[in-house]
Amino acid sequence: MRMLSDIPIAFLMIAAVTLVSAVCAMSLRNLVHCGLCLVLTFVGLAATYLHLSAEFVGFAQVLVYVGAVAILIVFTILLTRNAEVTLSPVSQSSLVGLGIAIAVCGSLVLPLVTSPSLRRLPAQSLAPDAQVQRIGEKLMAQYVIPLEALALVLTAAMIGAVVIAMRDDPERNDPSPSPQNQKDTGSVSNSPAGTALNSSSSTSSSQRP
């Protein structure tokens, strides 16, 4: 019924890969594997963006997520000793969770499928000119304030993350601080904030897990 060529093979392939890796990322026992599947999902998504001819966003997605966030997640997995943890049995509450997720999926997909307006959209539209030049101008002109704000947010997040994750009192380099005394020193470590630049976000080697 539809021409072979007009079935979006590329899109379907990418979508399939991404969805499968997303499901794996959620369900695998070994957390590191989940992390890696997540990376694959990110790459898949980047490919979708490229497919939607938004190169800049695709490359940005790869650079940010694959380059940084994935590493973060993997490191966190290492630091919180979850690498070996096995899957806990599927409990009753998780089934409820699944049910809700399915319900949400239905509530999202159903209107999409049935809504008349989407059909009206022109299937064929020429690729918008998303030149880096124009993006740069836009960023620097119209969206300069959000850009500055984003810079601030990022710096703040970086410092915050370092402060939160830093060990409480490095002098007392007690290898395994018992939960008891840990509790009283409060969750957010208040040791003297080291210079923001002394270690990349939580990956410096001095961070013995």
Partner: protein
């Protein structure tokens, strides 16, 4: 001379025309990838031998001279060795990830070459955000290092991976920032347009970025960060044999080890290629009257020079300690690149100075500013850890 310059391009079009229509798109792709891979694989082989010979000479000894005349066939021997050696995989290792790691490293390395302009319109894919693509793909190498380090279930491997990742992430920042200066002055992310911007000649001197104050310092910073990114020379801490055997490569042997080894060198070649396009004017000739020589010749000449530089550095500069490495990156390189950015901006805006000697004044100011920053940062960081020596007995 025009044809010599475009010899390869013309050859490719000629061949594509030969191929039947439906497979034409496949042919164009293959024809652009094929030569790329062969050229750089051979470069890899040559550099291994040249490096070992050069190190030998630096250390006042002969390099490998047994296999073939003057040891020239040594890479062939190594390659063969790698292929036939047994590929051991540790028992508890995470087989899948262990297997995937080398490929996760090499594939992105090859991808980085797709955007470099080897000669006039000899770029595989002329991406609008070529530079961004280059770094995006480069960023995935940390992941591969992690997979290698973690999957081999070996403390040294893990330690090596951690160090490697820390180093690569830390040096990625100055690397990107130094290129930002170029992007800012050229105004575009696509590499051919950057080379284009440097192709003009003034009184016979080429307007390469390296001849501007920020360009020179940017080039030096780029090379340093690039070396660290590719785990070369002074920054080859992850595979520091003396400390943690081969770092994240300890559990690899045979073909996977060869792949890693090749990935590393490819990373080096990508960095040098990018350095050339950004600062040394890519395929433009050094002097105006030599402009007629083929563009790709100049690219590979500069390429060879920089690789020699790296080898030379490897031979002479001692390896950094881990904390010095980190401190150097964050406390020294990042601020310097930021200052460099400022000087680039100054250079850009002071372009309109008309009075005579404006060039010298601008040069002087720019260089002075960067030099000043360099000196102050150096002095600020120089914390003499060791108290002054007290010669108890000698008067």
């Amino acid at each position: 001379m025009e044809t010599l310059d475009q010899i390869f391009v013309l050859a490719k079009h000629w061949l594509v025309a030969r191929v039947p229509e439906p497979l034409a798109w496949l042919a164009t792709i293959l024809l652009s990838i094929g030569p790329l891979i062969t050229v750089f694989a051979s470069c890899f082989a040559i550099t291994t031998i040249v490096e070992r010979k050069a190190l030998g000479r630096i250390q006042n000894r002969f390099g490998p001279n047994r296999v073939g005349p003057f040891g020239l066939l040594q890479p062939l021997a190594d390659g063969l060795k790698m292929l036939i050696k047994e590929d051991l995989v540790p028992a508890q290792a995470d087989k899948v990830v262990h297997l995937l790691a080398p490929f996760a490293l090499v594939v992105p390395a090859w991808l980085t070459f797709s955007v470099l302009p080897f000669g006039r319109n000899m770029t595989v894919i002329d991406l609008d955000a070529g530079l961004l693509f280059f770094f995006a793909v480069g960023a995935s190498s940390e992941l591969a290092v992690f997979m290698a380090g973690w999957s081999s279930r070996n403390k040294y491997a893990l330690m090596g991976a951690m160090r490697g990742i820390a180093q690569m992430i830390s040096y990625e920042v100055p690397l990107v920032l130094s290129t930002v200066a170029v992007v800012m002055s050229v105004g575009s992310l696509s590499l051919p347009s950057i080379v284009e911007a440097q192709s003009a000649y003034v009184f016979g001197m080429p307007t390469w970025h390296v001849f501007t104050p920020w360009g020179l310092s940017g080039f030096i910073l780029f090379l340093i960060a690039g070396a660290a990114e590719a785990n070369r020379a002074p920054f080859d801490l992850p595979e520091a044999e003396s400390e943690i055997i081969a770092g994240y490569l300890t559990e690899y042997s045979g073909f996977k080890y060869a792949l890693f080894f090749m990935g590393e060198y490819l990373g080096l070649f990508a960095i040098t290629g990018m350095g050339i396009t950004l600062f040394l004017g890519g395929w433009t000739a050094p002097v105006s009257f030599l402009a007629t020589t083929p563009s790709w010749f100049w690219f590979f000449a500069k390429f060879g020079a920089i690789i020699a530089l790296f080898i030379w550095v490897r031979g002479t500069v001692p390896r950094l300690r881990m904390d010095q490495l980190m401190k150097f990156a964050w406390k020294f390189l990042v601020p310097l690149t930021l200052v460099n950015l400022v000087v680039a901006a100054f250079w850009h805006f002071s372009g309109t100075w008309q009075f005579p000697g404006a060039i010298f004044a601008r040069w002087l100011l720019g260089a002075g500013f960067i030099g000043g920053a360099y000196v102050t940062l150096g002095r600020a960081l120089h914390t003499n850890q060791f108290p002054p020596r007290v010669y108890a007995y000698a008067e």
